[in-house]
Amino acid sequence: MIEAIRRHLKLYIAFLGHNLKNEMMYRANFIILSAMDIFFMGVNVVFFTIIFNNVQTVAGWSYYQMLILIGSVGIVREMAYLTFRQGFLNIGDYIRTGEFDLLLVKPLSPQLHLGFRHISMTESLGEGIMGIILAAIGYYHLPPGSVMAVPLYIIFLFVSLIIYYSFCLIVNSAVFWIIKSQELNTIVYYFMETARYPRDIYRGIGKALFTFVIPISLIATTPASILAGRVSYSLLFLSLSVAGGLLLIGSLIWQVSIRHYSSASS
C-alpha cells in the first residue's frame, strides 16, 4: 500500500515537472490566462457586491461569508487543474486517434494516467490565488471560529475535489460514444460555474437534484460553511456520503464505458 502511494507520488512529481517546463515556454500566454482568471473572479465579486448593496443577506449568507464561498470555487478549480481536469479535456483526442491504446497497456490505471498526465499548474493559477485571497479576506472579517476550522476546511476541499472528479468522470464516460470531449466538458464548465451559489437557495425538487444528481450545491458550500462558522454535522456527513457514492458510481460507469472503446486506425 505505502509502496503504491510512493510510486504514484513519484510519477505525479515527474509529470508535474515535465508539464511545468512545457508551460513555462509560453510566458505571455501564462500572464494573459492569469489576468483573465482574475478578471472573471472579479466579475463574480462585483456581482455579489451589487446584490449586497440591495440586501443584507442572501439565503442567510452575509457578504464576507459569500466571499469565502466564491473563493472556495476558485481553490477547488485550481486543485482540479493540478490533478485531473486537463486530462479529461484531452481524452477525445486520445480516443479519436487511437492513442488511448497506449494508455491501456501502460502499467498504470488509465483513470490515473489520464488524471496525472496533463497536470497544469498555470491554467487556473490566477483563480486559485484569487480564491485563497478572497477566502482569507472573508475569514478575517468574520468573528473568530474554532481552531479546527482551517484544517477541516482543507480536508473538505479535498472531499469536494472527489465530488468534482466523480461528476467529471461520469460525464466524460460518454466520450466513448460521441468522441468529442470538448463539448462534453462545456457541461463540466457550467457545473463549476453554478457551484458558487449557496446551497440554501434551493428548494424542493431542485434541492434533491442539485445534491445527488448534479451535486453543485455541495462543492463550494460545504467547505465554505466550515470556514464561515455555519456548518452542521449533517452537511459534512452528506458531503462525505455523496463523494463516496458518486466515486463508486463514477468508477463503475467508467469501467463499463471503457469496454465500448474500439480503438482506431489499427
Binding site: 483573465m36 466579475v43 456581482f47 457541461i187 453554478t194 451559489y197 440554501d200 437557495i201 448534479i214
Partner: protein
C-alpha cells in the same frame, strides 16, 4: 443575391449536422439560468427587492437571456481567424463574393436555426414558469423586441468580424476574441441588469455599445425602456461605425495579406 441564398441553404444544412454542440450549450446555459432563478426567488422570499424590478421582471429578464445570449454569440471569427492565419483565405479571394456579406449570411443562417431550437425550449419553459413570466401588454412591443434582437445580432456580428480581421496584422487574435466575450458578458447586462450597477459604473456603461446586445432588448420586452426612437438612433450610429470600421479593415487587410503556405 442568389449566390448568397445558396450559401444560406448550404450553411443551414451544415448547422443541422452539428446540432449536438448547440444542444449541449443550451443544457449548460439552462443549468446556469435555473440556478440564477433559484437565487432570485430566495432573495425575494426573504422580502428583499432589487432596484425597481419585481420578481416576475427579474425571472423574465434571465429567461430571455437564454434566447438573447445565443443570438448575439457570433462565432464566425474562430473560422475566419484560422482561414487568414493558415492561408486558406486565398481561396476566398478568387471568388466573386463580398467578404462581409458572406460571413453575415453564414452567421444569419446558423442563428436562425438556433432560434428555432430555442423557441421550442422557450415554449416548454414558459409552460412551467408561466406564473412567473411577464408578457408585454402592447402588441407593438413584440415588434420592437424582434427588431432590437435583429439589430443586436447584427451589431454583435460586426464587432466579432472586426476582431477576426485583426488576424491580418497579428498572429495571436484569440486573446482579443476572449476579451470581447468577457466585455460583452459583463457590459451587455448578461449577468445583471445594468441599472442595478453602482451609479458611477452605470454612467460609463451607458456610453458603450454593449448594452444594445442584451440589456436594451430585454428592457424593451419588459416595457421599461423609454425614448425608443433615440435608443434606436444611437444603436444605428454604432452599427454604422462598426460597418465602416470593418470595411476599412477589409480593404487594408487584404493588401497586407501574405497567403501563408500558398
Amino acid at each position: 443575391m442568389k449566390k448568397y441564398l445558396t450559401l444560406f441553404r448550404i450553411n443551414w444544412q451544415n448547422s443541422l449536422q452539428y446540432r449536438a454542440s448547440t444542444v449541449i450549450y443550451i443544457v449548460g446555459y439552462g443549468l446556469y439560468i435555473s440556478v440564477i432563478l433559484y437565487l432570485w426567488m430566495s432573495v425575494y422570499q426573504a422580502g428583499n427587492k432589487m432596484g425597481d424590478y419585481t420578481l416576475t421582471d427579474l425571472l423574465t429578464y434571465y429567461l430571455l437571456q437564454l434566447i438573447v445570449n445565443i443570438l448575439i454569440l457570433s462565432y464566425i471569427s474562430w473560422e475566419l481567424i484560422d482561414q487568414i492565419r493558415e492561408g486558406f483565405f486565398s481561396n476566398f479571394l478568387i471568388k466573386p463574393l463580398n467578404l462581409l456579406v458572406y460571413w453575415f449570411t453564414v452567421n444569419l443562417s446558423g442563428k436562425l436555426l438556433e432560434t428555432i431550437y430555442l423557441s421550442m425550449i422557450g415554449a416548454v419553459l414558459y409552460f412551467f414558469m408561466r406564473d412567473y413570466f411577464w408578457l408585454p401588454h402592447h402588441f407593438s412591443t413584440f415588434i420592437y423586441f424582434g427588431g432590437s434582437l435583429f439589430l443586436a445580432m447584427t451589431l454583435a456580428f460586426l464587432m466579432d468580424f472586426c476582431i477576426a480581421l485583426i488576424a491580418f496584422w497579428l498572429i495571436q487574435v484569440r486573446v482579443f476574441k476572449f476579451m470581447l466575450l468577457y466585455l460583452v458578458f459583463f457590459f451587455s447586462g448578461a449577468i445583471l441588469p445594468l441599472d442595478l450597477f453602482p451609479q458611477w459604473l452605470q454612467k460609463g456603461v451607458h456610453l458603450l455599445p454593449f448594452q444594445y446586445l442584451a440589456y436594451v432588448p430585454i428592457r424593451i420586452f419588459l416595457e421599461k425602456q423609454e425614448n425608443l426612437s433615440s435608443v434606436f438612433t444611437i444603436e444605428l450610429f454604432w452599427l454604422l461605425f462598426f460597418f465602416a470600421l470593418a470595411s476599412w479593415m477589409v480593404s487594408r487587410g487584404v493588401k497586407r495579406y501574405e497567403a501563408v503556405g500558398g
